[in-house]
Amino acid sequence: MDSISTETKPGLIAGIRTSGAFHKLLAFSGLIALLVVFSLASPNFMQTQNVLAILQATSVNGVLAIAATLVIITGGIDLSVGTLMTFCAVIAGVILTFLGLPLPLGVLGAILAGTAAGLVSGTIIAKLKVPPFIATLGMMLILKGLSLVISGTRPIYFNDTPGFTQIAQGSLIGSIIPALPVPNGVLILFLVAAVISFILGKTALGRYTFALGSNEEAVRLSGVNVDRWKIAVYALAGSVCGVAGLLIASRLNSAQPALGQGYELDAIAAVVIGGTSLSGGRGTVLGTLIGALIISVLANGLRILSVAQEWQTVVTGCIIILAVYADILRRRNL
């Protein structure tokens, strides 16, 4: 049976299992179905501006979902992504507005704050053996409280750092190709996706991420320092949340300390809709991107159609189930 399947498989970007990547490409179909339906239902849907609005709306949740993907592949879960994002935004605010330091320091500070928080979560999970759900639930609350404390429960504005809004709202591409004013936030989302895809597919950290989720005990028995790698994964996820913090702060031109709780559910939903299993061991960044896009397209499309909000909720619930069910059917018939 093995000789049949020795056809060469191209190394796709998305990571470790090429057949998985192939599946993901097909998973576009659910997304495309949504796009087609909404395009037919409203002429406003497929306009460039709206498409950009959808992409922009995906950027924060997409980046958070990528962070969640990392942790979920290890078989863990991260409930703190939302409030960690806010915490990082607040740290950027402290550096840039309270201390008046230059922009690059703020960016660095936010990402390092995320990494540090991830290190703490990871250490609690790996060393103290606290289940990821509890450790990150605790971190979620701690970070939420700290954001309020540090900011003095006030938003911190970035009015004194003029370049700050450019991080998400400017358009590098647009300044080169004026016809394509893709906001930087979207660019950053794809950049993060590419980097994390690469790490997952090509580096030792990525390999151990999958290995941990697949069978942690086996990895340990193979003599690998499981704790160290697990902590590294959480730290990496934390730094990705730092990027999300910069994105949201830049979009709102402020660090809103009260924001963030509840974002974890959307992020995890994007991951699971994208085909990553919560039991770990498998998952792709591409799938997560598609999951995040499905969520934003749905929200945008239903609003464009001016569906009453209570019905929007009902329809969203149904479509999420259907989209995942369609994906399951497709895989079964493959």
């Binding site: 938003p155 709202q169 709102l252 924001l259 001016s306």
Partner: protein, 288 residues
């Protein structure tokens, strides 16, 4: 010894509630009483607020200030307070009960109707408008949406409210909602953002799309004030949150001292824009 006054509000993290808290703290400092201030995460969490009220009662405070999310739900506990001889002062919105000695509040329906009048004036009495509100079921959410929509219906037949959507007061979500409304209705003339988070979201969404739609906000805060200064937002309704907090504590202290109280302390609301923002009367009620 010092009076201990427990304020149970409808929210905590949002700027409006922090301004109320600031007013309460100011009164506490002036009147030399100690004040605690708590509220649930969202205005949907009626039962969490009840638990907070129960815990506050257990602490045996001298007086309680209470902004009910649902006044009926709180009745048994308020009766408990009355039985224990703890005076209760209502704030922000009324409590359907004779237990509170007074209510320090804003008339949200009238405030939103004023926003509708200003909107009609600014768009020339005709066209499409939309509302981005914070909450579909909370008292303030209902009152402001109803106040605005009903006023438009009654007084301005040529204006149509094409969309009312709710973003939970979350700036980012309100931004996305605003963008979709603008893209779905290219001929939209105006949007009313019914609380601070919604209003910032509306301003943000319009900026991101480069739209020149007329925006009327609610409450204040640095972002909204800046949006008005920059001309992104035409103006906003402000309540007097600092005043609400201050009056609540002051009324509680009066009650404790046995002084008489009026049934309602109307803390008022104002429309402000670039032109009158610096007026001392207005500047005093705006919070940064």
């Amino acid at each position: 010894q010092q009076y201990d006054i427990a304020l149970i509000s409808k929210g905590f993290q949002h700027q409006f509630w922090q301004a109320v808290k600031a007013g309460a703290d100011k009164a506490a400092a002036e009147l030399d009483v100690s004040v605690t201030f708590e509220g649930p995460d969202t205005e949907a969490q009626v039962d969490r607020q009840i638990d907070m009220l129960a815990a506050a009662l257990a602490r045996k405070p001298s007086a309680i200030g209470f902004a009910a999310l649902d006044s009926q739900a709180a009745t048994p506990l308020l009766e408990q307070a009355k039985a224990a001889g703890i005076p209760v002062v209502a704030f922000d919105s009324g409590v359907d009960s004779d237990i509170p000695l007074t209510t320090a509040t804003t008339d949200n329906v009238a405030a939103a109707a004023l926003a509708a009048d200003k909107m009609a004036e600014l768009i020339g009495g005709e066209g499409k408008v939309a509302v981005v509100a914070h909450d579909q079921t909370s008292r303030t959410g209902i009152d402001r949406v109803d106040g605005f929509v009903n006023r438009i219906k009654e007084a301005y037949p040529n204006i149509e409210v094409v969309s009312v959507q709710y973003g939970g007061g979350d700036q980012l979500q309100s931004t996305e909602i605003t963008k979709s409304i603008l893209l779905a209705n290219p001929d939209l003339k105006g949007i009313f953002g019914a609380n601070e988070g919604s209003a910032i979201g509306v301003a943000n969404g319009a900026t991101e799309l480069g739209s020149k739609v007329v925006i009327i906000g609610f409450d204040s805060g640095a972002a909204q004030i800046k949006a008005i200064t920059d001309g992104v937002m035409a103006g906003a309704i402000t309540q007097n949150p600092v005043g609400i907090g201050y009056e609540t504590v002051a009324a509680a202290v009066k009650a404790l001292k046995g002084e008489a109280l009026p049934p309602v302390i109307d803390t008022g609301f104002y429309f402000y824009d670039k032109s009158n923002m610096a007026d001392p009367e207005i500047a005093a009620v705006l919070y940064q």
